[in-house]
């Protein structure tokens, strides 16, 4: 006899909890007759960590799938449009050391690889600038779209910078009023299991017992169900990624018309790096560092020095300290419980991989929602395989940023390049790319978290060199590349004239809203 899965219980009311509840509820029409029900239990006593003020472009389809209005989202979550990241002082550490990892693909990326052609003939310009228009748009603080562009559509690809606390509240209102999610504000006091080890019931302080068929653990670093109840081991990845502490601070804009930068600025420091994220209301700035390589005082000093030029009284700003234990659980889905968000793991804020993992996990749970308990073990195993692979690829990609650096000013950078700290999978790719240019086939899965384009932007942005092949380039390939470079110049001219500034667009969204079509 099969046991149907009808009731989904999400524990935790941060962004991970509400995204997961919303994605599942929207996909399965929660609350409709005969449909599954989604309940979210939020503790009144546990504050939200609010990681990640940066998202990926995937957030657009995630929000859209939940039926969110982009106009309301932008207005209520202090949102700004993000078009990638600019990495400063990561390669040599010098004043002119900077490159972009934009969100658009290189021109003609689905048809051909521009790297060899750029290396041969266009090295006078930075790689990203030669192959895409977005760096020029970012340099001028322009927006990725016009006010007449419909919601969720872009003239060029974009993501968001947002206030994570406001975002959780916004999603809560949407999930409860539009998607039929039941919201219980209470503390989970104990977990009752069935004889087979499945979670049967969560006991709460004031709302009695809450029964469910699938439990989603979004309890943050506490990992209440997966970690504490099931004791699934945590695998530290600190031997690869050294950053273990973050200092965060909110910085006001100097004036009401200060430019709102449309990309995340990441500036390398002696023992870590500083993020700088422009919201519509303020900047979010923070220093993540390795406590083994610098002191808390020195790190805070570096953070204040970074901010000093743009605020009148830097000492008045209060700094919040967050401990990071880089790593993840060895399994994410155990019996009838699956962890999403910080409860599954966290690495570091570089490349904003936290929220995208939440979206990917929520998406897969919703899409593969086991109809019966019997199907769940199969889905769980596949989910675990897929996400262990994804965590490894993210770790490879983050480590890439450190491995390619030539900085020697602190042991942090030298230690980062030491062979034992580099995963074999990454060492192998780096060896491969000395001889051939990164391309789709270098990766195993169809839906890689970071596509070959991202590797190209970081590798050649940081000065990596691939040896030209003795096979050379055909006339046809050269012709193709020349056309792409020209098309890129034409597009740049057109777009730079047509796009408003990021601040102008955000003001227009406030005044007029974005059209739905």
């Amino acid at each position: 006899m099969s046991t149907p899965v009808k009731s989904i219980i999400v524990v935790g009311g941060g962004t991970a909890g509400w995204i997961t509840a919303g994605v599942i509820a929207a996909r399965h029409h929660a609350g409709a007759e005969g449909a599954i029900t989604v309940t979210l239990i939020e503790s009144p006593n546990v504050p939200i960590v609010g990681v990640g003020e940066g998202t990926w472009p995937t957030m657009r389809s995630t929000l859209r799938s939940m039926g969110v209005s982009e106009t309301e989202f932008v207005r209520e979550c202090e949102v700004s449009f993000k078009q990638g990241a600019r990495f400063q002082r990561w390669a040599s550490g010098g004043d002119d050391d900077a490159y972009y990892h934009p969100l658009v693909l290189p021109q003609g990326f689905l048809k051909g690889n521009l790297v060899p052609h750029w290396q041969e003939r266009r090295r006078d310009r930075p790689f990203a600038e030669a192959v895409c228009v977005q760096t020029a748009i970012c340099d001028r603080n322009l927006a990725p779209k016009q006010i007449a562009t419909p919601e969720f559509a872009g003239v060029v690809n974009y993501a968001y910078h947002l206030n994570a606390g406001k975002f959780a509240g916004f999603l809560q209102r949407h999930c409860c009023s539009k998607l039929g999610v039941r919201h219980v504000v209470d503390d989970v006091t104990s977990v009752l299991t069935r004889p087979n080890g499945d979670i049967a019931v969560l006991m709460t302080a004031h709302n009695g017992s809450i029964e469910g068929d699938l439990f989603v653990d979004c309890t943050g670093f506490r990992s209440l169900l997966l970690g504490q109840h099931y004791g699934v081991p945590f695998r530290s990845r600190k031997q690869v990624l050294f950053v273990d502490t973050a200092l965060a601070v909110q910085v006001p804009y100097q004036s009401e018309d200060s430019p709102i930068v449309s990309h995340t600025v990441s500036t390398a420091q002696p023992a870590g790096w500083i993020w700088d994220i422009g919201l519509s209301s303020r900047r979010g700035v923070g220093h993540v560092y390795s406590s083994a390589h610098t002191s808390a005082d020195a790190a805070e000093q570096a953070l204040r020095d970074y901010i000093r030029p743009s605020v009148p009284d830097v000492e008045a700003l209060s700094v919040r300290k967050i401990d990071i234990n880089p790593g993840h659980r060895t399994r994410f889905w155990e019996r009838n419980c699956v962890a999403v968000g910080l409860s599954a793991g966290f690495l570091e804020p570089l490349e904003a991989s936290a929220l995208v993992l939440v979206e990917l996990a929520a998406g897969m749970i919703a899409e593969q929602m086991p109809v019966t308990r019997e199907a769940m073990d199969i889905v769980a195993r596949r989910f675990n395989d897929k996400f262990l692979y994804r965590w490894d690829r993210i770790i490879d990609f983050l480590k890439l940023h450190y491995v390619l650096s030539t900085r020697t000013d602190n042991a942090f950078w030298i230690d980062n390049r030491a062979a034992p700290t580099v995963p074999d999978s990454l060492s192998e790719l780096l060896e491969l790319w000395k001889h051939q240019y990164p391309w789709h086939g270098d990766f195993v899965q169809k839906d890689e978290v970071f596509p070959a384009a991202s590797y190209q932007y970081v590798l050649y942005g940081m000065g990596f060199a691939t040896n030209p092949s003795h096979l050379g380039q055909s006339t046809k390939e050269r012709q193709f590349a020349a056309e792409q470079f020209e098309e890129n110049e034409r597009m740049a001219c057109r777009l730079l004239a047509a796009l408003p500034s990021n601040r102008e667009l955000l003001q227009a969204v406030r005044s007029y809203g974005m059209p739905k079509v």
Binding site: Q146, I147, A148, T149, A508, S511, Y512, G513, M514, P515, K516, V517
Partner: protein
């Protein structure tokens, strides 16, 4: 654009050219219209929705040409149609608010004139005021055009609100081929989704009908047929 309140002392000697022409910017591909005009418009023009590039908000417009700067109704100094849209008849005049110096929200509406308009002349054209400072019949006519537009803009806003509420606006791509083989595909046009309109609940349909919106929506849909007339106009021009 230099918009100032119209003044029978300061502007007593101004004259306004009432003819049409490229020199006055009458070759624009579209002109904004209001629902009160739909019945008259649909006999001759295709009515669409289009976005104001400054705000991203929709307006009703009629399509006058197939190329970017082309008004196929413009024939020398003449507007070749039985009915000329209000916005094409208001000359250099617009409705503005009187400045009270204390927030303009409740200020009375008054006629403004755009002093940068090339329609404004010193010798030729229609005078605005008589010797005694009273308005000429021409200016009185403009006044009633502006009054009709004022009411119409409010109606348009309500109608657009209903269309957005029921998710009835859809982009429409028109393309075709002229007698000489050249292709045309004007972009940025939207119309009303006929199937979704049909699928509305009986309750919504009755509500839209009682308010007069249903008729206006079907007039917009029916006016799509007039695109064929535009193509004929263009073909006639090509063969001239």
């Amino acid at each position: 654009m230099r918009r100032v309140p119209l003044d029978n002392v300061k502007h007593r000697d101004l004259r306004v050219a009432t003819a049409y022409g490229v020199q006055y910017g009458d070759d624009a591909r579209v002109v904004a219209v209001v629902p009160q005009e739909f019945r008259k418009l649909v006999a001759e023009y295709p009515v669409f929705l289009a976005k104001d590039p400054r705000t991203g908000r929709f307006n009703f417009i009629v399509l006058l040409g197939l190329d970017q700067e082309e008004n196929l109704f413009l024939d020398g100094p003449r507007w070749d149609a039985q009915y000329v849209p209000l916005n094409a008849r208001r000359g250099p005049f617009v409705v503005g608010r009187a400045s009270t110096g204390q927030g303009d929200a409740n200020a009375a509406t008054i006629v403004h004139i755009d002093l940068d308009s090339r329609r404004i002349q010193q010798t030729n054209g229609e005078p605005l005021f008589r010797e005694d400072g009273t308005q000429t019949p021409y200016l009185q006519g403009v006044g009633s055009v502006l009054a009709e537009l004022m009411v119409g803009i409010d109606t348009a806003r309500s109608l657009l609100g209903k269309l957005e509420l029921h998710d009835l606006i859809e982009p429409v791509q028109i393309h075709g081929r002229l007698a000489d083989g050249t292709e045309f595909a004007p972009d940025g046009l939207y119309t009303i989704h006929e199937q979704r309109l049909r699928d509305l609940s009986a309750e919504s349909i009755v509500e839209l009908h009682r308010a007069g919106y249903l008729e206006q929506m079907y007039l917009v849909i029916a006016s799509l047929q007039r695109v064929a007339d535009l193509v004929s106009r263009k073909n006639r021009r090509l063969s001239r």
